[in-house]
Every structure is written in structure tokens, then in C-alpha cells.
Point group: C2
Chain length 311, copies 2
Amino acid sequence: MNAGALPSFDRRALSRALTRASRMSVDELLRTRASGAQPAPRIGITGAPGVGKSSLIARLARVRAQKAWPLAVVAVDPTSPDSCGSLLGDRIRMEDLADDPRVFVRSIPSGGTRDGLADNLPDVLSTLDAFGFAEIVVETVGVGQAEFGVRELVDVEVLLLMPGLGDSIQAMKAGILETADLIVVNKADLDGARRMALELKSTLAQRRTAAAPRIVLAKAGDDAGLLELDALLDDALREAFARRPADARRRRFARYRLQRLVARRLELAFAGLPESRFDAPPEEIYEEILATMARGHRGPGRAPGQPEEES
Amino acid sequence: MNAGALPSFDRRALSRALTRASRMSVDELLRTRASGAQPAPRIGITGAPGVGKSSLIARLARVRAQKAWPLAVVAVDPTSPDSCGSLLGDRIRMEDLADDPRVFVRSIPSGGTRDGLADNLPDVLSTLDAFGFAEIVVETVGVGQAEFGVRELVDVEVLLLMPGLGDSIQAMKAGILETADLIVVNKADLDGARRMALELKSTLAQRRTAAAPRIVLAKAGDDAGLLELDALLDDALREAFARRPADARRRRFARYRLQRLVARRLELAFAGLPESRFDAPPEEIYEEILATMARGHRGPGRAPGQPEEES
């Protein structure tokens, strides 16, 4: 945590570096090592569209940036032309942060990946580490499996719910409740918020073998819940760092990064096979896939969903 | 479609064959070719827990088995000790089918896979093909990405929703609405069912470039919706078969099967790496992973989540 001096990162250089990282192909990424910088503390925040993630993150970022700055917010946008409306709304709420010199906000497209996470997210985060960020908040939309993915990239995971959307049921079946470190019942001025918190508490008490996550009630315009969340995040980060020494954190992030890259490389190898190939015995196709993967990382092989290089 | 004779499949032999298929390791499966039998028409039915999938499928199976028998229902159970209650309820509803000689019901555990689909599901289905089933209904729980997975294994996909659970919103964000061929608004006697159907209709009209899926209202004890669904399924299957000739269907299923097997083989290769290995440059680990995968399919390598062999 820094104090006293003004934030020193170069916004334009950082912007360029992030654009570079987000445009690298899978094969380029396979040849790239993560920066040697120790990863900054990472907070993941996830929830369904409409639960108020962006508003809460904007307020939370201001509070946390007073202790840990520069602070970065990385928002992973589901790449769907249909959801432009809501995403635009989200980004406008985030722009409230633009006047805060201690905060940097970056939104990256998910690039059509199955689990709603951008392929290059690990490298975006490690670029932020290299620029000396003191803390990173990663916002993801809870579209199912993304929560499991992002869990491997952050130290602490916060799940946002709100009364009335059936989200608690959805969350339970998707198993997210089992992995979240903290749960925020947002829009707590709506009917049913307290009941929802109580139900969650009793469900979690039955299900979790380890300590159940703390539940916070939050709502717009009231800072009590926000400050409670802030304090609980400090505790949760402390515990996460105690549980995983620096080596273990770095390896965990590296492992996840490589796993995604290899899985994507595999998708590309499959995409290159003509349909008629699938009349062959599986073992034969398997050998061919492995051969393609071995050759692959010398080819051009841009990751699908990545924008073209600027001309 | 058969008519006249009694169903001829040997339930005990089939049961044994399915148990064998569901217990094979990834490496054994990689050495196995799908049976030469032409795959039976496959109907996928998905939806959140509580929308009434099993009851509807039990009723639908009776209706369809009058035209296409023997008919098999394969229910993929999310492997979670917490959900035993609801699953037990589902299975009990399914047991209503046990007295119907034209119907065979099998429930298989999802085995803790990320997308909620069993690794061996393709082989369970192709075992049913080899036993001469005339139609297969695959039930999956809509836990997020499973819908995308199962989409590749069936000819027609039905999404079940119900009023009040917030499912329509959930479905929209997860993109399931974009891929379903038919949508059933179940429990149509509940408030808001017609409004939900109208909302879905207008949403779909805006979003889908191809023909929007038909929406059916269904409820317990009333056969009108069920018979409408049955007729629409006939149409949808006919269209699916016209769109994809026999070769294309077989290759599509074979492709998906192999993709899952290789992905799982990759997971096993990663699981075998010690954490300290992730300090190495990514390219080096990548080469090691490929080497392990090339060796792997000669080793024992039981798939995680698979039961042990009987002793």
C-alpha cells in the first residue's frame, strides 16, 4: 500500500501495453512469460446483469484507492451485440471514476470464449502488475462458468446478488455459493433483502464445510454496507495471502494462464480439421491434433475474437 | 419409427453395456470407435431445477414412444451431494415410466465436469444407437454452459422455462435463447405465464436472425400443450434431418465426442504436473504437456469422477 506520493503510472504507456497484451495471439502468448513482478492483490466481483455490479465497484474503488493505489478496475464485457444497451450503461457508471487519478479503469471484451472470460485476461492482469498497481478489481458477468474461471485468477471472490431475480437459486445450482469468499446482497432497500440474506445464511451453514462466507447488505446512497464490505475485503485478502505464500500465488496464476492457452490452442487445432476427418478412428485424429499443436505455436494463429492489428 | 412388434431390446444386456460405457476411462474411450449404427434422433431438454423437466419428460416420453420405440430417456444428474433431495424427487417422477415396455430410462452422473455434462455421454448415446433405439431424449440441468455442450450432441434442443423464477432473464444472458429450437413455458397455470411467453416472443423477434423458436405453453394435467410440443418436435426433427444429411450428423457427433476426450486428457496431463513446474517458461511446460498427452493414452488414466471398476 502506498501513501503520500501521487500515483506515478503513465496512463498512455499503460494503455498501449494493455492493448498489446489484449491483441496477442495464443501462439505469441505461449512464447511470452508473465512479468517477473509480484502479482498485486486481486479482487474478483461477479454477479448477474442488473444486480448493480458497476455502481458498487465504482463506489468501492474510490474507498479502496485511498489505501491501495494506483488501483485498477478490469471489467470483462460479454461480447454480445445484443447487450450493448446495458453495457453502455455500465460503462457510463464506471466513467464516474475517470476523474480519480488513483484509479484506472479498463474494459476488455470476452472475445466469445465459452466461459465468458477473455483469453488474454491473465496477461492484462500481469501487465497491470508490471506497472506497479497496488490492487486490481476484476469484474465479470455471472453467465455460468465464468465464476469458476475467474476464481483461479483472483485472491478473493465476491458474489453480488439482489432480491427478487431468482439469483439465489441460480447461484446455488451453479455452485457459485460454494466458492465465493464474500456475498453482497445488493439493492438492500428492495423487499425481501433481509429474508434473502437469512436464507443464504442458513443454506450456507448447511452446505459449506469450511467457514461460510460473510454476507453484507448494501444499497445505493448508504455507505455503511460499503464500508463493511471494504473491511471484510481487507480481512479476506489477509487470509488469502496467509493461505498462499508468494510462490504459490504466482504458480497458481501461471498454471491457470497456461491451461487457458493450451485449451485455446486445442480449439484452434480442432477448428482446422475438415469435417470429413471425423470419419477416422479417434486415436488417429488424436495423433493429428497433437501434431498440429506441436507445430502450431510457430504459425500465425491469431486467437478468435481478437481485434485485428491497427493498420 | 417402428410399429406392430413389441420392443425387442434386452434390458439387462443394455444395462450392462451402458455401465461399461459409463465406466471407461478417457484413454479407453480414445481407443474406442463409436458403433457403426446410424445415430437415433436425439432430443435435448434443458432447464433450471424446479421448472418441471422430469414430469414433462415422463409425459412426453409416453406420447412419443407410441410413434418411436423403443425410446430412451437419459438424464444427466449434476453430481452434487447437496441436491440429493430434488434429484430424488425427479427420479421418482421418472419411475412412472418404468412400467412402459417401450421406454428405457437411465440416469448418469455428470461426474463433476465443468459444463455439467458427463464425459461418457456421447458413448452412452451411441450404445443406445447400437441397441436400436428409435429416439433418445437427453435431459440436462441448465447450470450454465451445459446447454451449449449438449447442443452439439442432439438434433433438436428444447428449453424449459417457468414464470417467476427470473429464468427468462437468466436464459437471455446465457445466450441459451439463441440456440434453442423450441421453448416451453411450463407451469402455465401460474400467474405471468402468458406475459412471459409474449415477452419471449418479442425478445426473440428482435434477436434471432434465423427463424425464432416456437413457444409452447404447458401445464400438468392438460394435454393440449403436450401434444402441441409433440407435433412441433416432429417438425423440428424433420428440419434438422433435412439440414444435416446422415454423414454430417455422424461427423458432428464424432467431433464433439473427440473434443471432450482430448480436453479431458489435457486436464489429466495438467493435474499430473507438480505446482513448482509452473515456474518454467510456458513453452517448456507446453511441450511437456504435449509429450504427456502423446504418452497418456497408453497409461491407465481413469477419468476423474468415474466410479471404480467392480471387484
